[in-house]
């Protein structure tokens, strides 16, 4: 057997141990990126082979959070793909505003930058008070950062540019306090947000939602898990609810795609048909 084939066996063993011991199932994650992340994990722990980590994974409780952090690398930014937020603001929010209460579910929120971006849009469109943003992830360390709402200020310039391109009406610094090297998000935004642990792979519907934002989550899954996740998202949406995917994600292979129609095909914003069942 070649070394690379032995490494594949090691990955299988590790994934199986993680599932049997801790209940996290990564069997249906895309293999190439999983392999990359496990390699990074291996380096983090300074072990020669992935199996060298197995004893600790099985016996040391504290290892799990490090593993989950390494396997769900939180990479995000405020108003990422500004044009998406611009269309959400112009096309989606005016419809959402007619609901007395608006539930938004952001799946895979990582450290929360996008959730805060959404809250800012809702605030500027005058409907933050009627809005609840549920932002979920499997990475508790990332959720803790999101909860605190304190980000590194070195990216403030990028975020401000994004905010402006997304059709921001004021200044980003109106929504945060920058001091020294951090930016602290306004507590008024924070009041409309709930950060919670949720695992798309194993858990059920999180809430009844008028808008689900699930961007750059599905690309990490195989087809089987993509289908399961989309079915879950579909189940959580009210009739006429909206779904926003990442720019390289689509509904093309999803069995229930006919229930949706595109609001903006290029920006991957879809709407569940009003006669499509819904909740």
């Amino acid at each position: 057997m070649k070394p690379s084939e032995i490494e594949e066996v090691e990955i299988d063993l590790f994934v199986e141990a993680l599932r049997l011991r801790h209940g996290y199932d990564f069997r249906h994650y895309g293999r190439a990126s999983l392999r990359r992340r496990l390699l990074a994990l291996q380096r983090l722990f300074g072990v020669a082979h992935l199996v060298d980590l197995l004893p600790r994974l099985l016996r040391e409780e504290s290892v799990l959070s490090k593993v989950l952090s390494a396997l769900s690398v939180p990479v995000t930014e405020m108003f990422r793909d500004p044009e998406v937020f611009s269309v959400l603001r112009q096309e989606v929010v005016p419809v959402l505003r007619s609901f007395p209460r608006i539930n938004i579910w952001q799946v895979g929120c990582a450290t929360g930058e996008e959730a805060y971006s959404l809250a800012i849009v809702m605030a500027e469109e005058g409907c933050l008070q009627q809005c609840q943003i549920y932002a979920t992830d499997i990475n508790d360390a990332a959720l803790a950062t999101a909860e605190a709402g304190i980000f590194h200020a070195r990216r403030l310039a990028l975020y401000s540019d994004n905010y402006r391109l997304a059709g921001g009406k004021a200044k980003l610094t109106d929504y945060c306090r920058a001091h020294l090297d951090v930016m602290e998000m306004d507590v008024a935004l924070r009041r409309a947000m709930v950060f919670a642990h949720h695992n798309l792979v194993a858990d059920g519907v999180f809430c009844e939602a008028h808008l689900v934002i699930c961007r750059n989550v599905l690309i990490y899954f195989d087809r089987h898990l993509q289908d399961r996740s989309l079915a879950l998202v579909r189940q959580s949406l009210v009739r006429g609810g909206y779904l926003c995917l990442g720019l390289q994600e689509s509904l093309d292979a999803y069995a229930g795609k006919e229930e949706f129609y595109p609001v903006d095909r290029l920006l991957r914003i879809f709407r569940l048909r009003a006669d499509g069942g819904g909740r």
Binding site: K2, S4, E7, G30, R31, A32, S33, R35, R36, R37, V73, V75, N216, I219, Y220, R223, G246, L247, Q248, E249, A253
Partner: protein, 195 residues
């Protein structure tokens, strides 16, 4: 049993457009192997690279689509903002993992995934570029027994990228080819190996 054929992975940055056009422009539409690459050059706004490249190219040029299986006669480019990885079943995966060598897409993740997923069936092509991205990945491909085709730095608009690869890839696993000879070299290899 029918061989599944090779996969060509390539990388470039500064000077990359002319290098890609010259290296791949004359390959026929029935070229047997898929060609998959990363070019760093993208500013803001709409991504025009596939169109630009398609103009002087017989191959079908497209942005890589996640889960799509690679086909011969096609040239795939990593879309801006995403790393492109190859799976063992020869499908594409896209990720938004952190930048590598200051770039996303980066060449190393593509090359490394090709080395891991396809082993000695991968051929790396390193073209003009003004940074060292791709060298690490080319080394990994060479270590798996794959071939590295390195653009002769003297024929590169920016020579740092080919030089960096040249410095790490063992001589037995590499060929250094003048830009205008890369196309004919790949074509001959495709015909000879596949025929």
């Amino acid at each position: 049993m029918k061989r599944r054929g090779r996969v060509i992975v390539f990388g470039c940055s500064t000077g990359g457009v002319r290098a890609m056009q010259t290296a791949f422009g004359l390959l026929p539409v029935d070229y047997p192997w898929p060609i998959v690459g990363v070019c760093h050059l993208h500013a803001q706004g709409r991504w025009l690279m596939p169109e630009v490249l398609a103009r002087g190219c017989q191959l079908k040029v497209q942005g890589a689509v996640e889960k799509e299986r690679l086909q011969g006669g096609h040239l795939y480019l990593a879309p801006p903002g995403y790393h492109l990885l190859l799976e063992r079943d020869r499908s594409c995966s896209l990720t938004v993992d952190e930048k590598v060598n200051g770039s996303r897409p980066a060449i190393d993740p593509l090359f490394e995934s090709a080395a891991d997923s396809l082993g000695d069936q991968s051929i790396a092509v390193i073209l003009s570029g003004a940074n060292r991205d791709g060298a690490e990945g080319a080394y990994r491909i060479a270590a798996q027994g794959g071939l590295c085709v390195i653009q002769d730095p003297n024929t590169a608009e920016a020579e740092e990228m080919p030089r960096a690869a040249l410095a790490v890839v063992p001589a037995a696993q590499r060929v250094v080819v003048r830009l205008e000879e890369i196309g004919p070299f790949l074509q001959t290899m495709g015909v000879v190996t596949n025929g």
